[in-house]
Symmetry: C2
Subunit: 577 residues, 2 copies
Amino acid sequence: MWKGKGLEVDLSDGSVEKIETPSSFLRDFLGGRGLGVRILTEHLGAGADPLSGENEIVFATGPLVGLTPLSARCAAVTKSPLTGTILDSSVGGSFGVWMKRTGWDFVCLKGRNKEPAALILDDSEAKIKPAGDLWGKNTGDSFDLLERSYPGSKSFVIGRAGERKVLYACAISDMRHAFGRGGIGAVMGSKNLKAVVVKRSKARPLPLDPTAFEKAEKEAIRLIRASPVLSGGLKSYGTAAIAGVVGYLGIMPRSNFRQVGGKCELIEGEQIARSGKIRRRPCHGCPIGCKRVLLKEETSEDTGEGGKQREIDVPEYETLWAFGPNLECEDLEAIFEANRICNEYGMDTISAGGTIAACAEEDFERLKEKGRLAQWLKRIGEGEDEAGQGSARVSPKTSMTIKGMELPGYDPGGALGQSLSYATSNRGGCHLRAYMIGPEIMGKPKQIDRLSFAGKPGLVYRFQNLAAAVDSLIMCKFSSFALGEEEYANLLSAAVGEYYSPEDLLKTGERIYNLERLFNLREGFGKKDDTLPERAFERVDREEFERALFEYYCWRGWDEEGAPRQEKLKELNIEPL
Amino acid sequence: MWKGKGLEVDLSDGSVEKIETPSSFLRDFLGGRGLGVRILTEHLGAGADPLSGENEIVFATGPLVGLTPLSARCAAVTKSPLTGTILDSSVGGSFGVWMKRTGWDFVCLKGRNKEPAALILDDSEAKIKPAGDLWGKNTGDSFDLLERSYPGSKSFVIGRAGERKVLYACAISDMRHAFGRGGIGAVMGSKNLKAVVVKRSKARPLPLDPTAFEKAEKEAIRLIRASPVLSGGLKSYGTAAIAGVVGYLGIMPRSNFRQVGGKCELIEGEQIARSGKIRRRPCHGCPIGCKRVLLKEETSEDTGEGGKQREIDVPEYETLWAFGPNLECEDLEAIFEANRICNEYGMDTISAGGTIAACAEEDFERLKEKGRLAQWLKRIGEGEDEAGQGSARVSPKTSMTIKGMELPGYDPGGALGQSLSYATSNRGGCHLRAYMIGPEIMGKPKQIDRLSFAGKPGLVYRFQNLAAAVDSLIMCKFSSFALGEEEYANLLSAAVGEYYSPEDLLKTGERIYNLERLFNLREGFGKKDDTLPERAFERVDREEFERALFEYYCWRGWDEEGAPRQEKLKELNIEPL
């Protein structure tokens, strides 16, 4: 049976309420993204200002977190200050596992603290503590302080960008993992919430059907180990491995999407691997470990002695692209430094790079001057540059955004299913609502024709539903390179002791997707927003795109304006908002 | 570089010619099905009588045969006496590996021997030997005699059905493996060719790029081991495992397709596993081993002593279905016996069952009388029953065939992609030209909506091309549950030492598929034949089907009558026939 508990914390008055999670929430929305969306849509009225005390953030774990590999995740759901849509974001590392062990399914944060504060969570309660000593600090220093105050704990924090409400400020956990997109950090900043700390708990989550779980997990691990994408490319080179494929197929955007194509060896995984000693820094319990650091030997400033090693984060593909080819930048050190600054200040690298690209596209040459990119990013992080508002606000004509969110590094014209997935994503220009790059570019689970819309609307529909379910289990998106609906459903069924067929799982994802859609419709989003930036239509046929969008609505059971029909809501057992 | 050699054997005058295989044949058609189709289309004129000396059979191995697991196969290509189309068929066991070791890529058999003959192949030559002693014998006795005469050899033979030119007579290898569909056995019978024997050779095929091959093979084996379908269901229960899924989804045809649905536990793998001791009988080097036998203890007739064990072949899913639910037969022993008779006489079980179903559909009750099914099959095998002509000829109104070939055990209405694959199959009603059952029913590599045509034309197009390539490598179709285009391309590239991208591999399959289509068009087949039996349209919407067919032609670059356009032939570098 579904049972769970959560916390509702009102920052305005410091009250903490313990809640029994309604079992229908868990059964129908699972956890993570789904649970967060369910709670947020219930709490939030139409038109709430994302940066006011009206807005809320729900942090949630899920039924598989901490139970199976690739599940060390925590979801955050809020109304995005960047896009005005519903926003969910998910972080890896180990925070999710620590939170799961406390036994709280979710923490819902309301209101606004008067002074800088931190939320301290353990297995019995949550407390709001002053955090004036942390305020004004970037993420690295904040972690140092928190580690001293709460040894053995895990936390996430915002940097100065979040404090200054940069609209794409993120929150950082475990030094290098981010609730990346859409401005979770700005919402935290607006609430004067600097950090969330979870203390170590001794409890361990257990599956309710251990025998079935052992079988399902064994099968999943076998598939993960066998996957060439996971245990080959990603394990060897991290997400930088993607640069090679994307370059090979000529779909890497350049110069703020004004051009497309060509290889970029500079940012390819194999190339980066040659630049020094690389070490994997896996999320909790992950056998792949796509995160990695570069070890640099340093001379001690105090003693003048060498031999001290410093770890420099190797940026993800999206970051390498956003600060590399998309800015015409060919200086790998500058890209690494841009990544470091974003992590320090707590800013989404895709939106940061995309906004700079939109602002600077007439003069990339100037941007190549040594240190200029770093300076610009610091000014944004300090709240001193209007580029902190995102490209859609500050440079709408050159902005490569959908619903106000900057696009990642795959040209829409080179993967038409992905373009439809971009356009219909509930949080804007994001590749993770349905990673059509899998079948269209990497041929997983099956190569399909990337240059045709035929058959894509139905596939995007299913991929989006599956992704919503996976985000609610929670498992890492990359697991989809090895696992299918069946394996996820088997893991879930065994974990919760109730049978979910693969179709049940997809239906759950569909329910989540539709509830998110209802939220966005209420905020005034609709068909007009399910589109691509104008520049993309230089390479995507507009008529074909519109036909595909219409077909997609048909698959979804939405009307011609993109609103779910009554019958669809009834089928999914959700109420109109 | 592509190099190879083959044999052209004229049975009419006993001449044997050694041929250097044109390197373009190998590069552009690989081996197996592709090589056979290339040779046959060059040799055969329009309108050749399949059962005359005009017809030819090409037996061919392929670049991966004997090199990698799931590749112990040999292809046969001829003009089918059952359908009049081009026909390729492929056999497992170990014959293919033995033939590969001789170094001959192919043997092309022409003409007609005056007296019963056998072809004896070794690594230096081929000889035609009299086989009067074998003639009139069924397959079991034939193998006994051949084993005595050629110890250590591998062979395939026809039974009495092939001698009597039953139009769906097959050839049997290694006791239980069949060149199953379309009447290879009848073509052999018409040529007075009873058996093909290949002697053991010491040579071992080697990949041309051993390092790359080792890597590609390791990856393939890891994926095969991890696949739940291969290393779970098929390894545990053989293809009878399919009965459970097909029954669960309610798409198992019954009573000659007059009904559909319901489970049939009788023929499910788990049920059969309970009926006695089961042993796997894998093809050469296969880690899955889906073939299996039931061990039965027997009392010796001579001594009256017990303890002697007899092996009874466990029928494949298609056979279990064809003699079970499709004939309303609920007697597992009768089904096993029907299978045994078909193997002994050398007859395709799907067409045998389908023809009996079409002839008997008004009176299945009578067929249930003990021994009646067995008697009927023996009469067919002896050439004494007109049902040996196939249902399209003897009972056209109730015949569930496409282009004259009987359909297998998946209802077209329950898997619409599969229905399109049936209709456009180059050898008629066959599930193996594009096994859409994979994604539509088993959710591998990805679950797609089985009850919609949307997106299917493009997928069928790609699946058919991939299947044609896999049939030419040659690898077992089941490998597709674990491997994708990329893994096949890597194996091929390493084996032949020339780079094939995944798209190159698909293009090769497309070339083969189009050449087969040209053959069929020349024989008068066309759009009118790309359809389903009338009864199927009770459950398939005709208009939707026709739209999907049209869309399929568009994907293929074929005109409205289903003929490849000039540009497509040019793109594929093949000449019009």
